[in-house]
């Protein structure tokens, strides 16, 4: 909307055009944080409940590895590292972009129409809607598991690896955000399709929580070249562990995360524009 017709100007203006949605998002999210903070006990309990559910998933991973010993050559700590990478990336993406999955509800209730007349990008408004810090309950334990796993595996830390890991994690978050937006766009066309989107968002998380080599070559190929889920946890894990790809895929792929992330975000942004352009109000 407003960011589409920014007049051409100096680099300061260009920077403002990029930073404006971020600022808008921060303001809208802050309103929700303040609203939620009115009920601190409720917030604490719900965050705790989310954290417990993450720990249950960690328990499941530990049980599976406990029975199997190793999966795809990964020990339990290495498996937990994959889990931590996947859960933190999806958790952070869920916190910032997860609300997009409620697009169908905004379309049905007409609240999307109200967003379209406001001078803030509708994607920012939809994504910041009902922003809740309780999702930190998912992110914090996931990062803790990642930390414990990294301490438990003998990674040969080099400067390069130490710098690349955060970059790959950021790429993973961006890929997850892109998946959330792209699947949310489906609801522009089929307003009831929320659950189908979940098969890629939450399903993507479930898939990447384990070393994906266990799913076989076909699936690894499709989550590398079609839906880039492999760059969320699998390729970063191979990079950190400095391990050859068990399926013999190109080693360069483990450095490709940032490029894939930018492409995925651009694709998701295009899809959103396409969807919004084809949006017709329900008119009720």
């Amino acid at each position: 909307m407003a960011d589409g017709n920014t007049p051409p100007g100096g680099p300061a203006r260009a920077a403002a055009a990029v930073l404006r949605p971020v600022r808008d998002y921060r303001r809208l999210a802050w309103i929700w944080v303040r609203a939620v903070a009115q009920y601190p006990v409720s917030l604490a309990l719900m965050s705790l409940a989310v954290a417990v559910s993450v720990l249950a998933q960690v328990g499941a991973v530990v049980i599976v590895f406990g029975h199997a010993g190793t999966l795809a050559g990964f020990t339990v700590y290495e498996g937990l590292m994959v889990f931590g990478l996947a859960a933190s990336a999806f958790g952070i993406a869920d916190m910032f972009m997860g609300a997009v999955e409620r697009l169908g509800r905004h379309i049905r209730s007409g609240s999307l129409d109200a967003m379209l007349v406001r001078p803030v990008s509708p994607l920012v408004q939809v994504a910041a809607d009902e922003f809740s810090p309780r999702r930190l309950g998912k992110v914090v334990p996931a990062l803790a598991v990642l930390g414990i796993a990294l301490a438990g595996t003998d990674v040969e830390w080099t400067l390069g690896r130490a710098l690349l890991l955060p970059l790959m994690m950021l790429s993973g978050v961006l890929i997850c955000c892109a998946i959330w937006v792209a699947t949310g766009c489906l609801q522009f066309f089929v307003a009831d399709a929320r659950e189908a989107a979940n098969s890629l968002t939450y399903g993507g998380q479930a898939l990447t929580e384990y070393p994906i080599a266990i799913y076989g070559r076909e699936i690894v190929r499709s989550v590398t070249y079609v839906v880039p889920l492999a760059f969320v946890s699998w390729q970063p894990a191979l990079l950190v562990l400095d391990r050859p790809d068990p399926l013999g895929m190109p080693e360069a792929l483990r450095f490709a995360g940032p490029v894939i992330a930018v492409l995925a975000c651009a694709g998701a942004a295009l899809l959103w524009r396409f969807g919004l352009r084809h949006y017709r109000s329900t008119g009720s």
Binding site: S42, L45, M46, A49, V50, V52, S53, A56, Q57, A60, I63, V64, H67, A68, G69, T70, L71, A72, R134, V190, A191, D192, A193, R194, E195, A196, N198, S199, Y202, G203, A206, L207, Y210, I214, Y215, G216, I219
Partner: protein, 284 residues
């Protein structure tokens, strides 16, 4: 008003009024949910995808250890698809009963004027929903599972009959939980927190995240006796004909599965009585 148990025996439909009301409510519940076709198709797709992911993880696990606590790979994958098939009818991850919203808005005042008890009314309506979900979500999901993977499909018709009885009891347990969560709203107004706290626990305790069989033996034995297990673990073991069932037989399992809804619904009736004596309808 004691006919709560037999709301759809058509032979008695002509005589007693409450039974006719229950039949009508049941039929409306069934019809209401049959209108969301896109959502139903999306749900089957998502359940199948999650089933496939869980199944592949377990297949990788059982490739390393062919037998764990009496389960082999086929048993485990069958339980995965029982869980995914039952997910919609038992609604363990939601949606909440509409009763929750009606308590919050005060519309429950209308419900309390109806010629049948509150719990019976919602039970009848929810059984209608569950019947639709069973036919159009459970059956297709399980069929897709059977196409993709090899599942345990007993040849004995009696086993299937017992399994269906078990599934029906699982659905009643699912309703009982959701009814209790809703009725808490008479005291708390907003039951979303109840769902946020109890929601994530359900799939874990039910044996949906991972078959309880894989848990350490002592833990699994305790969890099997809790009401959540009656929603997935016990029905799966009845289909598989396992001797780990309570009492070591199918009938022990069914007995436990019947005892829980009886206890939970009694609790629900008691809570409803307490609530309606103290209730002050809000709204105006």
């Amino acid at each position: 008003m004691v006919e709560t148990g037999c709301f759809c025996t058509f032979s008695t439909c002509q005589g007693a009024t409450p039974v006719r009301v229950y039949c009508a409510v049941y039929a409306r519940g069934l019809r209401r949910y049959s209108t969301y076709r896109a959502a139903t198709a999306a749900g089957v797709f998502t359940n199948s995808v999650f089933g496939a992911i869980n199944a592949m993880v377990l297949l990788a696990l059982f490739a390393a250890r062919p037998e764990i606590n009496g389960y082999d790979a086929t048993d485990a994958v069958t339980q995965v698809y029982v869980a995914q098939a039952l997910l919609a009818p038992i609604a363990v991850m939601g949606p909440a009963l509409d009763l929750s919203d009606r308590i919050r808005t005060g519309a429950v005042g209308n419900d309390l004027l109806r010629p049948v008890p509150l719990m019976g009314w919602w039970l009848a309506q929810d059984m209608g929903r569950a019947t639709f979900d069973f036919a159009f979500r459970s059956v297709p999901t399980f069929a897709i599972g059977a196409l993709l993977f090899s599942l345990v499909l007993p040849g004995d018709p009696l086993r299937w009959v017992l399994t269906l009885v078990s599934f029906a009891l699982a659905v009643v347990v699912g309703f009982a939980f959701r009814y209790l969560y809703s009725v808490v709203g008479f005291w708390l107004m907003d039951t979303r927190a109840v769902w946020a706290v109890m929601g994530p626990a359900g799939p874990v305790l039910a044996g949906m995240l991972l078959p309880l069989t894989l848990f350490p033996a002592g833990v699994a034995d305790v969890l099997r006796l809790l009401p959540w297990a009656s929603m997935v673990q016990i029905p799966a073991e009845i289909l598989l004909g396992k001797d780990t069932l309570p009492g070591g037989s199918v009938f022990g399992g069914l007995l436990l599965q019947a005892a829980w809804p009886a206890a939970l619904l009694a609790l629900g009736a008691w809570a409803t009585g307490r609530a309606t004596r103290k209730v002050v309808i809000q709204g105006g």
